[in-house]
Symmetry: C2
Subunit: 214 residues, 2 copies
DNA sequence: CTAGAAGTATTCCTAATCGAAATACCTGCC
DNA sequence: GGCAGGTATTTCGATTAGGAATACTTCTAG
């Protein structure tokens, strides 16, 4: 029963969840991701943030869109968790607005990282959804989906590996490096899982090429 | 450049993507998931569909909410991919509307499963996001997050294992059984990855209890 | 030298999705 | 007799996704 309300039945009136202005830990996960990006201390524009999240977060947390990053920044500023200023750029390029985390923001994101309940990861595995519908596919098409997924996984693994190597020297990146190592193993596992399923399919419906040796 | 349009610049007028009534393969992924559920041939209500997807899809594809399932069903019916009828229930219980896939729906979902491009899975790994922010946590809290995630993964693995066992006898469930086996391995890997990261953290910041033996 | 591609930077709009709550009726248990 | 819990669906607001528009710059190929 959210909103802490008990007596919402009875009148039929519309009741709004007012989110209790003092209770600020109720931001959506993506806000925390953006604030987390800022918690490393640099002053960044929305565009920078998008690039950072594409590079680092994307291995384990779907990178938010531009529009969302910009609206999160506005929300964070309104909440007092970030401050911004315009900077004029040297030559030509358009002025930009850069954001910096505030002390309140630091305290809030630290509290979130420490205290929030651990919820299950969200996975939307398109390739598996299609394989689940195997009765609609020819074995050859199932293989094709898996081969492509295996290749994608290996590309991701290589990228995580390269990024981990690039990050391991900076002490400030110790924990991001740890998660990059995790990502390296995760994508290695995805690759191997695809290979294992390929073998399972082979067992169910042997490909014309294989197993025909005399 | 979507909508196939080239000359959208120039007027400033608002242009709508009309989605080309004839080109029907442009449904969102969740529509295909629901149609896929129906493609096994049974006549199901929205409520049934929600339960099915909670049981089977959830291992690899985030289960859609009731509201979305019901609106997808309406969309599928309007597109001619599903038909529905009301059934009165024997004793008491409220009437319900059950949906069945049409031949067009079968053809469309088959085409989607066969021809759609293989796109990368979407992962939003909350626990990793928090570990990525390790500079905000005490080692003890990092361990706590990982331990909980490891336990969650093992619970999911056990459920996938149990479901796979229950499904393996029906020939019609051959492919769903294959993806359940995949899920079993996937969650085993998640569990092991959590354990490995726990070990990495141990190496970075030894727990007071451990390594103090003389 | 000039058109266009690509990068920087931000905003707008729409559709997709979530999740809680409202509604409604039944069964079973204490 | 009441209430917890399962079936069944709708409604609403908030969140999230992601393309398109805008605008200005630099680089590059013809």
């Amino acid at each position: 029963m959210p909103c802490g309300g008990k007596g919402t039945t009875g009148t039929g009136r519309r009741l709004r969840c007012v989110a209790d202005e003092t209770n600020t830990r109720t931001l959506p996960a993506t806000s925390w991701a953006v604030l987390g990006l800022l918690s490393f201390g640099e002053e960044l524009s929305g565009y920078d943030l998008k690039k950072w999240s594409d590079w680092s977060l994307r291995f384990f947390y779907w990178s938010p869109s531009f529009s969302q990053i910009y609206s999160e920044l506005k929300r964070l500023e309104k909440a007092g968790y970030a401050s911004s200023r315009m900077v004029a750029q040297d030559t030509g390029t358009r002025d930009k607005r850069v954001y910096r985390i505030t002390d309140e923001g630091m305290a809030a994101v630290r509290e979130w990282a420490r205290e929030a309940p651990v919820d299950p990861p969200v996975l939307k595995h398109g390739p598996m959804l299609r394989l689940w519908l195997g009765h609609l596919l020819e074995p050859e098409q199932m293989r094709e989906v898996l081969v492509q997924h295996r290749e994608f996984s290996e590309r991701m693994r290589l990228r995580a590996e390269a990024d981990a190597e690039g990050a391991q020297d900076e002490a400030a990146w110790a924990y991001p490096t740890l998660t990059l190592k995790w990502a390296e193993r995760y994508y290695a596992s995805e690759r191997d899982l695809a290979a294992a399923m390929l073998a399972d399919i082979e067992a169910l419906a042997p490909a014309p090429e294989s197993g025909t040796r005399p």
